[in-house]
């Protein structure tokens, strides 16, 4: 099996879906000849032309709204938001519109659209090119959210997203675009939206993470394994709807839960994971539920020392595992 990068996996997924279904098109800023600022659509304009790779006006609200209208009209838009930080102008359309269409029309209309969003910090992007946005959008019933942390999942989940009859947000850990590599099979495959993935089995501590932090958590688990701590790493992978069973099964086994995300702590995604455990996993718990997250400040600072202070990394995760294991 060939080893490819995360972004190449995403590119392949789009390429295959564009080839498979003429209703699939990509719309966003600079997705055409430029191939996207991260090069996710590189070569696709040359292959599929201007009708299918649509350079939009610089306006996220309408990238999403046009996507909603087109999806309602039975096309299969893949909307690219250039950076997660720039998605808020489209918040109204995503939260009030696309995600409610099916429910509010009593099932008459559905919105088979994908919103691809590069997110996350640690790349020198400062307050406005580093944001995590999953916390806001995982409070939106009717939407689905996936976050791949391997090329296999990236390709498989994006293909599932394109075929899903609901709006699906694909959060792409952009720091991992080229840093994360992995094998994928040659032929056609998809990864189902919903189930979490056990990235590493273990008995002592459960670590719940996604995106870049799932990648780091696996590294941290190997580090502490050498010290005799057997951590289980659950890559949540689908954030909405949340795979509660996977969480509870793991905590049942380990009795200890650490949640890691780079986003700010208060009302970050870890809050929901902690709440699920505190409610339905209470009797399994041998210790407090812990969160290792970015601090409660308005964003990831630009200056390198401050950025590093903000971001969780394998060392900080390993420390947090050790701490909890000792409890």
């Amino acid at each position: 099996m060939p080893e490819i990068t995360l972004i190449e996996a995403l590119r392949q997924a789009m390429d295959e879906e564009l080839a498979r279904d003429p209703r699939v098109f990509v719309v966003g800023e600079d997705v055409g000849p430029r191939g996207g600022v991260f090069r996710a659509t590189q070569g696709l304009y040359e292959k599929y032309g201007a009708n299918r790779l649509v350079d939009s006006p610089l306006a996220e609200l309408s990238i999403v709204a046009v996507g909603i209208g087109a999806a309602v009209a039975d096309l299969r838009p893949i909307c690219e938001i250039q950076f997660a930080d720039f998605i808020y102008p489209a918040f109204n359309q995503i939260v009030n519109e696309g995600s409610r269409m099916y429910y509010r029309s009593n099932g008459a209309w559905c919105v088979p659209m994908v919103i691809r969003v590069p997110y996350g910090g640690g790349i020198g992007g400062g307050l406005y090119h580093s944001q995590s946005i999953e916390a806001y959008f995982s409070h939106v019933p009717g939407l689905k959210i996936v976050v791949p942390s391997t090329p296999y999942d990236a390709k498989g989940l994006l293909k599932s997203a394109v075929r899903d009859p609901n709006p699906v947000m694909v959060l792409e850990p952009k720091k991992g675009y080229r840093a994360i590599k992995g094998e994928i099979p040659d032929g056609e495959f998809t990864v189902p939206i919903g189930p979490a993935r056990i990235a590493r089995e273990g008995r002592d501590v459960s670590v719940f993470a996604y995106g870049m932090m799932a990648y780091y958590a696996a590294q941290a688990a190997e580090t502490v394994a050498q010290e005799g701590i057997d951590a289980e790493v659950i890559d949540l992978r689908t954030l909405l709807p949340l795979d509660q069973d996977a969480i509870l099964n793991s905590v049942k086994k380990t009795g200890k839960a650490l949640i890691v995300h780079e986003d700010m702590q208060t009302m970050g995604y870890g809050a929901e994971v902690a709440a699920v455990i505190a409610t339905d996993g209470f009797e399994y718990l041998d210790g407090p539920v812990r969160r290792l997250t970015g601090p409660d400040v308005p964003g990831v600072p630009y200056s390198h020392p401050m950025q590093e202070f903000f971001m969780p990394n394998p060392e900080k995760i390993a420390d947090a595992i050790r701490d909890l294991a000792e409890y």
Partner: protein, 346 residues
């Protein structure tokens, strides 16, 4: 009402079409008045009215390929929806919060959705339907340009019509929608129903230009202003816009001037911000009696027939109300509904 696809000027409309148009305006007015009465009686919780806007709405509907072209309406579009084929009973069901087609009682009334008529579900959040309509129009063009459909095929949607009030054009959503329509030369018609008020605010508090349509040039689309109480004038202006869309010549911003004859909604008290005299002035310009008189003048309708229409409209309103009244309320658990569409779409 037969679904038609006739693109022809008002002067060439058949007598039966003209009568259909009048009937639809009238029926909308009666249903709307009944809703106010039901609200006064405490039988329904809320009403938001289209009274004063029926002529323009019926004209708009009759100019498109009804039931086939996409429509993304707004809350005052009762007459438009009737013209498109909404059953009267369904409207009454929605007033009572019962199982209407639009939402099964989940949405407030006036949040129309009729998949079989290509009327797309909307929200109460003003203007959100307009960039979505750009998306519908984009899909129309996409299918034609990628060879999925024949641009002449009248069984396929060939444009997207969307409606909103003049106040709602202040939203950024509107700018982005109009801009897409211009840049991508979309088969879209943005039909602004300028009824002189946005709740209590007047047009000059929304914009520093005299007409919304003055903004068409900023988007490279066609623009026009028309008297919204003159059903045939609106119809002709719409026909131009429809032909433009069908011919691939891009979008139109059409503004009909009219007047909101009722308070904003059943929650509003319009005495705080406008005079009774102003309302009376506009009542005299009401498009319904005006069209009635016109049809009588040109011999399409007799006084007796017109009286007949009145009686029929009342009877139809009664019937719809009774039928809706007899229907059961939704069960509480239906609140859960289906959160996600299931399976893969073909």
């Amino acid at each position: 009402m037969a679904v038609n696809s006739t693109v022809r000027p008002a002067a060439r409309l058949s007598e039966s079409t003209l009568r259909d148009m009048y009937w639809t305006m009238l029926l909308a007015r009666r249903l709307d008045e009944r809703a106010w009465a039901l609200h006064r009686q405490g039988r329904i919780a809320f009403h938001i009215s289209g009274i004063g806007q029926e002529a323009a709405q019926v004209a708009a509907a009759f100019a498109i390929n009804r039931g086939v072209d996409f429509v993304a309406p707004y809350y005052r579009d009762l007459a438009l929806l009737l013209a498109l084929g909404m059953p009267t009973t369904d409207f009454m069901l929605s007033l009572f919060g019962k199982h209407d087609i639009s939402s099964g009682g989940r949405q407030m009334p006036f949040h129309w959705s009729f998949k079989h008529l290509n009327v797309v579900s909307g929200s109460a959040v003003v203007t959100t339907q307009v960039p979505q309509a750009a998306g519908l129009a984009f899909a129309v063009k996409y299918r034609q340009q990628t060879g999925m459909v024949d641009p002449q095929d009248t069984t396929q949607p060939r444009l997207a019509l969307t409606c909103l009030g003049e106040g709602s054009t202040s939203q950024g959503e509107w700018h982005e929608a109009m801009n897409w329509a211009g840049v991508h030369k979309l088969p879209m018609i943005c039909f602004v129903q300028n009824n002189m008020y946005a709740i209590s605010e007047k047009p000059h508090q929304q914009m520093a230009v005299a007409n919304v349509a003055d903004r068409a040039s900023a988007y490279g689309v066609a623009g026009a202003v028309v008297d919204g109480n003159d059903v045939l004038a609106v119809y002709d202006a719409m026909v131009e816009a429809v032909e433009r869309a069908y011919n691939g010549d891009g979008a139109t911003l059409l503004e009909a001037k009219m007047y909101r004859l009722t308070p904003h909604s059943s929650d509003d008290d319009d005495r705080t911000y406008r005079s009774r005299e102003e309302i009376e002035l506009w009542k005299a310009r009401d498009g319904i009696p005006r069209f009635r008189q016109h049809l009588i003048d040109v011999g399409v309708l007799t006084e007796a027939e017109a009286g007949d229409y009145d009686a029929r409209a009342r009877a139809e309103t009664d019937r719809a109300q009774q039928e809706a009244d007899a229907a059961p309320m939704p069960a509480p658990e239906e609140a859960l509904g289906d959160l996600y569409a299931k399976g893969e779409l073909d």
